[in-house]
Symmetry: C2
Subunit: 281 residues, 2 copies
């Protein structure tokens, strides 16, 4: 696996590489990332991973400084997964000067995670646009655990007329249901034992909706309350439309998704569960 940090070298290495499949990451790779790499192989000729902890998408109180960085182990995993190329720029490579031009996403990016992480999706969209411009892939894969991110990037790509297919990879979970995440490393062992509740609660909401329950606001309140009674501090639990993360319209059938973000100890965990199309009366 060839590793590049400079933009010019990365570009040079991508000539005559056929159909390029990009998998951007912030490193500290786990089985969820590796599943994306494996899936990527089937979508093109060259699998290109990136590792970059993007300061632009972290708020002043976010965990940029302590975000786990495990570069050598990441490289080993990527090589073992058959990844062809790794782009791992430094901040000086990607932001040689303060970033003054940004992608400005619409209102939906200021809801849900965007409400609790102001500027987050602006930072995500901007760095991903730069990565797209540098690597010019035909396909890019992102995990569904970051569901809102996937939607923002899919819409940005379409609205900016980028010739890139955006694909989502299924969330990979531990045996007890906890979605794999680099931020799970912040959990104490007691918190780790409690953490699967997030997924269980989302499954409960999903089951209630599938059973015909349509008082989404009550379901959301009850789910948040159950988490908070067990020591979580919940930012949101929300039933939304899969396509655009807007609130479901009454009396329309939509494919839905239940999303949540909640803090347990010093970790802020997010997760979601998709629900097939249901009427929402």
């Amino acid at each position: 696996m060839h590793i590049h940090s400079s933009i010019a070298e990365m570009r040079a290495a991508l000539t005559n590489r056929g159909r390029i499949v990009l998998v951007p990451t912030m490193g500290n790779l786990h089985a969820g990332h590796i599943a994306l790499m494996t899936s990527a192989r089937s979508h093109g000729d060259t699998v290109l991973a990136t590792i970059f902890v993007n300061r632009l998408q972290f708020g002043p109180n976010d965990d940029f400084d302590r975000y786990p960085r495990t570069f050598q182990a990441d490289c080993d995993q990527l090589a073992a997964a058959g990844v062809d190329l790794l782009f791992a720029p430094t901040e000086a490579d990607l932001y040689p000067e303060p970033q003054q031009y940004h992608v400005d996403p619409p209102e939906i990016a200021h809801q849900l995670d965007g409400e609790f992480r102001p500027g987050h999706f602006r930072g995500v969209a901007t760095v991903v646009l730069k990565l797209f411009n540098i690597t010019q892939p035909q396909v890019a894969l992102f995990g569904k655990k970051d569901y809102q991110q996937l939607m923002v990037l899919r819409h940005m790509t379409r609205q900016m007329a980028l010739p890139i297919d955006i694909l989502g990879g299924e969330t990979v979970r531990a045996d007890d249901g906890l979605a794999l995440s680099s931020r799970n490393a912040y959990l104490s062992s007691a918190e780790r034992a409690e953490a699967p509740r997030l997924h269980r609660v989302l499954n409960q909401v999903s089951a209630a909706v599938r059973a015909g329950e349509r008082e989404f606001a009550r379901l959301e309140r009850e789910a948040a309350s159950e988490l908070d009674q067990h020591g979580w501090k919940t930012d949101y639990v929300a039933v939304r439309r899969q396509a655009d993360l807007q609130r479901p319209q009454p009396r329309e059938e939509h494919a839905l998704v239940v999303l949540a973000a909640s803090r347990l100890g010093s970790a802020r965990l997010i997760d979601n569960v998709e629900i097939d199309a249901v009427g929402s009366r």
Copy 2:
């Protein structure tokens, strides 16, 4: 010359075209545009012009509706100038849904023309980014008459890590000095006779600066006053640094530019004159 309006057709027509040189326009072409097309020829293998009157860069009180549209004559001129391909999308092609993702430019885009045309450069940057993504050129040419636009697009391109060289074409002028512009068509014959004063006044400021004058604020006021005394309504006259359009720093040597926007009758005209590097004490 092949003409395309759909994005998919345009993309298909651009495969195996070698080095692509893009010249975006809003149509109603004059000798300034044609000079860009001729220059484009020397920078690559395929010269691609675009014609699109971009609603996104017009304010509610701007001249979107009356902006001159002369498509057939434009096509004849482009073909005669040896342009290979024309991309002329409709609004439905380029904005099949309301544009919700934008390029957000920095503070400088809210000064000068940006102060008097709020959102203008956001609209320009967004549409040009889309045109770049659709056509993926190696080089793009823009006229220097829209000096601030050229700077914004150059900076956006660099900051978004787009592999595109942005080149500026010299302003083409009528014999009496008036910069060619589609908006000159709004002038009555009396106004047309008055219009060259804009360039004369900019030349006066330039001459004063080259002669050592450094009270830029006074020069700007006097220039605006001279215009206004002759029936103009001046938005600004400004001496700025060429590189970033910031105000010159005292006691530093900069390449400067004098820019102005002023309204004469129902036309809002802009122009500028570059000044070679001078100390600014």
